[in-house]
Symmetry: C2
Subunit: 187 residues, 2 copies
């Protein structure tokens, strides 16, 4: 495989994301972001000339790539639809890692971040929903029911993530994912 530069944008985005996840766009300061990367504020501007907005965009791009890999790709195969849905939900548990899982797209929806990133986030959520719908349809669930199930799955996962922040644990998410698997409307 190609040897990557020691400091890739992807590598930086990986370190920036947790700050945006925990503090939101307004709450994430350049001092925090610099500390998280191990660079100075000035060096961050070398990599992200347009400043904090650029950094959040790269964090979002990184989140989108992980969404694709861990959640959407498993949905798209040609295996048994039940296996695909279960694999995607398992991937969802890995996507939302950490002792207190956070959703970057949720955190960026407050304050100034909503103005800047709502379109991009809506696109990602739509892709997620359509991926779920497709797998549900493949399993024989009728169109309208597949639609409402896909919506409900994302709704419950996002709600569980809120409850994780309330309780300070991963437990609501794990319980939710288990419940979703057992309630899948499949034959």
């Amino acid at each position: 495989m190609a040897r990557p530069a020691r400091l890739t944008k992807t590598g930086l985005a990986e370190k920036l994301s947790p700050v945006f996840e925990r503090y939101g766009y307004d709450g994430a300061s350049l001092s925090m972001l610099a500390a998280a990367t191990g660079l100075s504020k000035a060096s961050l501007y070398h990599h992200f000339p347009r400043g904090k907005e650029d950094m959040a965009l790269y964090a979002l791009a990184h989140a989108g790539a992980r969404l694709q890999k861990l959640i959407l790709a498993p949905l798209a195969g040609k295996d048994d639809p039940r296996d695909r849905l279960e694999a995607s939900l398992a991937g969802t548990g890995r996507y939302y890692g950490g002792d207190i899982p956070h959703c970057l797209m949720n955190s960026l929806l407050l304050g100034e971040g909503r103005v800047l990133f709502a379109d991009r986030i809506a696109t990602a959520v739509t892709a997620w929903r359509q991926g779920l719908m497709a797998a549900l349809s493949d399993s024989g669930v009728l169109g309208a029911e597949a639609d409402s199930w896909a919506r409900e799955m994302i709704e419950r996962i996002q709600g569980a993530l809120v409850l994780c922040r309330v309780s300070g644990t991963r437990e609501p998410l794990e319980t939710c994912l288990d419940a979703l698997i057992s309630e899948l409307p499949l034959s």
Copy 2:
């Protein structure tokens, strides 16, 4: 009824809440909060001597009172449990008002706000969950099922609120509340 002072703490909390809801604790600046109340920053400190933290606490107290009135009180009557649950869900729709509904307790769970307010928020969520459980139990739903239904209802409502911020509309919340009413596990 007693004549209230022209500027009550409750009246101020009502004006402060939308700012904390939309921007979170870190993102809400004193300039915004002053503008929202029509007071100067110095006057805000007269009413809330400990500054922004005090203001957020009063906003939380105001939210707690509204939760009690619109969501919890309807659950606690002696009417038919189905009527109580439906009344509470209708109250939930009013509690989360506005063109893009926001949840103060959710918004305060980011950044510094989580450190300061997580305990208080967890207490409110627990009360909500127990109120739902009690009404479900009264309707004959078994303990374990009442517990998981109460959890799922809050989870879905919170998730729907996230999707409202994604789409910029009330529609996910309204759809969720309608679905919950029609799916209530009652006789």
